[in-house]
């Protein structure tokens, strides 16, 4: 079992959800996050005063999967999360972490059954 965490462009959320659906990954948690990496911020202007916004809005996906789903999930996110053919700085990252256990609260089932 693995925990996949992906930081993606907010504008790619719908496409990524659809791509995940195609590979039958249908359980995920999404949150609004802010952060910065290599992508530079942008400027916003309020009554003529420019602010550099370097904390950019991103969407974070958390997906717990069984091992055989890891690669399809990653490929789906890469395919749908890229901006254009080549992709762009700011398209985000995917992190994969080992998952020690998983428990379904309703039934108390444990392990890969519960995922």
């Amino acid at each position: 079992m693995k925990m996949i965490e992906a930081i993606i462009q907010p504008s790619k959320l719908e496409a990524v959800k659809e791509a995940l659906n195609e590979v039958e990954v249908v359980r995920l948690t999404i949150s609004d996050v802010q952060g910065f990496g290599r992508q530079k911020g942008h400027t916003e202007i309020y009554r003529g005063h420019e602010y550099t916004v370097n904390l950019l809005r991103k969407v974070k996906l958390q997906i717990a999967v069984n091992d055989e789903f890891v690669e399809p999930t990653v490929q789906a996110i890469i395919k749908a999360g890229r901006t254009g053919e080549e992709g762009k700085v700011g398209d985000g990252k995917i992190f994969i972490m080992p998952l020690e256990d998983c428990i379904r609260i309703r039934t108390g089932e444990r392990g890969s059954e519960a995922i």
Binding site: I45, R47, G48
Partner: protein
Amino acid sequence: MARTPFNLLAALVLTCGSSLFAADEPVVAPAPAATAAATTEPTAAAAPVLTIDQRLTAVEATAKTAADSAGQVAFNAGDNAWMLTSTLLVLLMTLPGLALFYGGLVRRKNVLGTMMQSVAIAGIVSVIWAICGYAIAFGDGGSAQNGIWGGFKQFMFLDGVVWDSKTGSIPGPNGDYAASIPHGTFALFQLMFAIITPALICGAYAERMKFSAMAIFSTLWLFIVYLPLAHMVWGKNGMLNWGFNDNLGGAFDFAGGTVVHISSGVAALMTAVFLGKRKNYGKEAMPPHNLTYSFIGACLLWVGWFGFNAGSALSAGTLATLAFANTHFATAAAALTWPLAEWIIRGKPTVLGAISGAVAGLVAITPACGFVTPMSALIIGALAGIICFIATSYLKQALKYDDALDAFGVHGIGGIWGAIATGLFFAPTANPGIAALNKPLAAALAAGTHPVLMLQLKAVLIAIVLSAVGSAIILTIVKFTIGLRLTDEDELAGLDLSQHGEEGYHGLS
């Protein structure tokens, strides 16, 4: 005649309409009966005996007789209805209009504290107004010649205004101020102006003033700056009021450009200077936390301002319509020119620019709306959008004061422009009140010898000096007694938590 639903509706409207027009006129059928008839038995619906024309003729005749016998304008229920409506529209500008406008422009940790300032000021000013505020602004103080201060004699506790303790009755109109509406309506209408004026100043000291200091500052400011200025411009025998004693030294301020906007704008600048900049100002981004609130607030200001400006006609006649039209056209023009200037200079027209432009246009047309023509209003508004854009974008940065939400840039600068524009675009015959109240003034205006622009500048100067000096004195007093600013720690935590122990946006469930 076939009884179609349309005919029934027409009969209903006619019968209800007649009871609205004049209470004295015999009503053919009471409105409730007609309503019942319409819903149950169609044939029983009371058909109007008179045509609309006949009714209007009768109403006009009655009104004319009453006016002639009184030798002046008679009490008019229509005027009172409009003035009560205008009164609530002006309150709507502060609550929730201004509270939302400013609340959205601050950072999220200050949203409640900023809204609280508006509601606290509404409470403080209303209580003072009932006790002695109206007396100071609109009383004659027992002296016919006091042009600055109405004193504590006439109209204390709103006696003889909303309630007459001698006769135990509700007073009628006061011919000095508004002959066709109850004196109480006039006093309430004016109260709403007194509420919004100190509330406008909040924009300058936003995000860093202690709540206690804000409350004391607003209270003292009302006594030292607002009430004297209102007396000067609008009060009986006020030194800048052209409506009394054939005064030729008066200023033309239809709805409060000097009294409300210049005074609050200049006070705003003083508070910004006295308080100093917000912590980390210039280093840290301090963008508005919710421009959608600000948008709603600004739109409520636009709507409410029709009460402010058209209501300042103090009746529901042609002058109200002129003021209404001027207000709208100036605002529309300014709502276009500010974002247009941004578009040209910065590349994009912004929503904040559009709503700020609308407010700038409203401010600028305020003194002028009863004295100029609609085409002048378009020009006044268009220029207001550009002038205030320049003031907030460049003047503020050049002079390095932290007028957090641009109360000076919009209300101070826009108010000064409006007062000057009133002189520049003055149409001598637009306001019938001048000929009725001040014949020498009307004659001088007709002859073209009246120095309108100079007198406008004089009033601007008086308002600036009074507000700057008065505010400076109050701010000094508060600074050295309880202190003006939040501690650094409280400022970082925000007004909401540090001053009120609450948060605007809470929890996950």
